[in-house]
Amino acid sequence: MIPNQFGIVGLLTFIRAAETDPSLVSLALGQDLTALGLNLNSPDNLYLTFAGPWADTPCRPQDLDYHVPPEYLINGSIREKLAPLRLSRYKEDLLFYLFYCFVGDVLQIAAAAELYNREWRYHMEEKVWISQAPGMPMVEKTTTYERGTYYFFDAHNWRKVAKEFHLDYSKLEGRPQLPPHV
């Protein structure tokens, strides 16, 4: 057989190197390209929301550049004069918008904290917001779970949906913590 790197033995040596020197191998055995943050099965083009070669997630709606009349834009000179955001003043609809559109941003956590204040709870497994449905009796309640009818916030159809559910308390997120500097 060929005794150097151009034969099968050379390739075999390379494959065995995979266990010891992953960086050496990353060019040739490559990596799982589906894990680079791109939705390769998307029926739509990726480039319009491509957040760049270093980003792990696509652009959010507000990151995209489209023409907006200057009247809609907040001018630098008055920005500091505007009232600060006070989430307690906003309706749930806006809070859910901030939660789902400001992913990876302080605002997502701030919106979550305000929803928590309003007795919504985030189900960490189902990845949905749940709240008690007023007037609907509890079917069963123990120290670790309860069963009854609850409101779910359906982000795809953007509305509250009542559903019976077995609610395991351990799956509910505690009070969201804002980063210290906020």
Binding site: L33, Y47, G52, N75, S77
Partner: protein
């Protein structure tokens, strides 16, 4: 040099005035009115009286924007702020200056006369590029990419707004930016390489250069920019110098190629040859990614279909999309003349015995063969072979490709070259195994023919190794590669499983069997 006295201060004052103009709450109309007033002020200051003065104004203003960012970055380094920095502060001077530049460009001369606008655009782009290269040289590892990235990005977004005055010059604007990106390509400004790729891969830039520019007139420019990137990465990847900075740029490049594979596969189909000419042979996944592209209107038959009759596929007789310019990849030379003569007359036989020395490179450390010449010869001879077979009213298959001047040359590569030369030759062939087209079909037959007719098991081992190393990589895998390998292991005339190298080690044996299982 020789700036008129006071120009620096004048420029500084005008920039400050302009920022104040922008800071008052404005509508589109008011911005336009205030802009005209401001232009009058510029005129009063003599800024617009000559091309030279505008150039000086732009140069000084650009320098002040850059200095402003360096100053802010330096301040934050010396006195780190308590809370995470809001990036906007770095942008404001650059953004307001570019707003002024964009308005000057759009309002220079009437919309029917694009030349003054483009002159102004090229001027500012040249100044930004010039400062970048100068600064890169002077600051060394303290060079900061941020101000240049910001100036170029915002200028590109402004110049591509949906406005009638810009729509008439979109293509010239794009050309100006592509030229600028070439001037500041990573090989010229290594410290700007990440921002450079961020600009080249920016959604607005990709949209303009690949999607909305008519007749795909931007594709050639974009391929040149990507080749610049591959040229820059080449020495680091070839030497597997994969420190974090290189790995970051490599992964970023993979991501951009994935977006192109998903959204513009025809672009990768058309320019695959130039890309694979630059990508080092050990970057197998990156090369597979490019070779896996196929036109979106094509439905690829599942390569694992039992008894798939590749030569009966309609597309298999059609040439691939891209028209390769052979004069570029195989410039006329004595060698090219001898090659054409041999292809025509299948003589003199000395051409074959001199082939290896023509492919070899002397006194170039780490390189013994001119792999780019080899790639070109393989593609050229293969294309000529297809035409030759067609001219006899036949179609390429295992018998029509044999006993010809073309096959003489390929067999010479396998017989007369050493292991490295043969590896590079086989790579050149495998780089043509893509989606169903006449090249994929011819080169697939060619590889299988060379395997069947090999005069030594070493040749068969190298063909197998070259195929295998392309198959054991993470996906994607080119269609032509899969169908060729499946044919090799399934068709008993190749006696594949009888070879010692198939059973040389448990991992290899297991590998072949797993590939065979997925194939069969």
């Amino acid at each position: 040099y020789d700036d008129p006295p006071g120009l620096q201060d004048k420029t500084e004052n005008l920039l400050r005035e302009w920022r104040n103009v922008l800071l008052s709450p404005l509508t589109e109309i008011e911005i336009a009115q205030n802009f005209n007033l401001y232009v009058h002020r510029m005129n009063m200051n003599g800024i617009l009286k000559s091309d030279d003065m505008i150039t000086r104004f732009f140069r000084i203003a650009t320098q002040k924007c850059i200095e402003n960012v360096y100053q802010l970055l330096n301040d934050d380094r010396v006195n780190p702020p308590p809370t995470p920095v809001k990036k906007e502060k770095y942008y404001s001077m650059c953004d307001s200056f570019i707003k002024l530049v964009s308005l000057l460009i759009k309002n220079t001369a009437d919309s029917g006369n694009p030349t003054p606008k483009l002159n102004l655009l090229n001027k500012i782009l040249g100044i930004i590029a010039g400062w970048l290269l100068t600064d890169h040289e002077e600051h060394g590892s303290n060079f900061q990419q941020l101000p240049y990235h910001r100036l170029l990005l915002v200028l590109f977004l402004d110049m591509n707004m949906a406005e009638p005055v810009l729509e008439t010059i979109n293509y010239q604007v794009l050309t100006a930016f592509c030229h600028t990106l070439r001037i500041i390509r990573p090989n010229n400004a290594s410290g700007f390489c990440y921002a450079w790729l961020e600009l080249v891969a920016h959604r607005a830039f990709i949209n303009r250069v690949l999607a909305v520019t008519p007749q795909q007139k931007g594709w050639g420019m974009y391929s040149t920019l990507l080749i610049d990137l591959f040229k820059y990465l080449d020495p680091f990847l070839r030497n597997t110098e994969l420190a974090a900075p290189v790995m970051m740029l490599y992964k970023g490049t993979l991501k951009v190629l994935l977006v192109l594979l998903h959204d513009f596969p025809e672009f990768l189909c058309d320019y695959h040859y130039g890309f694979c000419d630059e990508i080092p042979p050990n970057c197998i996944q990156m090369r597979n990614l490019i070779l896996s592209a196929f036109p979106r209107n094509m439905r690829l038959p599942d390569p694992f279909t039992p008894n798939l009759k590749v030569d009966l596929l309609a597309e298999i007789s059609l040439p691939p999309r891209a028209v390769i310019n052979y004069a570029t990849i195989l410039p006329s030379s004595q060698f090219k003349k001898d090659l054409d003569a041999y292809l025509k007359a299948r003589a003199p036989v000395t051409f074959l015995s001199e082939l290896r020395s023509n492919m070899q490179v002397l006194n170039d450390p780490g390189r013994r063969y001119n792999s780019q010449l080899m790639n070109a010869v393989v593609l050229y001879v293969g294309t000529q072979a297809i035409a030759h077979i067609r001219s006899k009213g036949q179609t390429p298959n295992m018998s029509t490709i044999a006993h010809s001047a073309h096959m003489d040359i390929f067999q010479n590569f396998t017989v007369d070259f050493d292991f490295e030369g043969r590896y590079l030759f086989l790579n050149a062939i495998a780089n043509q195994l893509r989606y169903p087209n006449s090249h994929t079909h011819y080169f697939s037959c060619c590889l299988l023919y060379l395997f069947a007719e090999a005069n030594s098991e070493a040749v068969q081992e190298q063909i197998t190794r070259m195929l295998l190393e392309r198959l054991i990589v993470n996906r994607p895998h080119p269609w032509g590669l899969l169908v060729t390998f499946i044919e090799l292991i399934k068709n008993p005339i190749y006696k594949f499983w009888t070879h010692e190298f198939v059973h040389c080690a448990p991992e290899i044996k297991k590998l072949f069997e797993s590939v065979a299982r997925s194939c069969i």
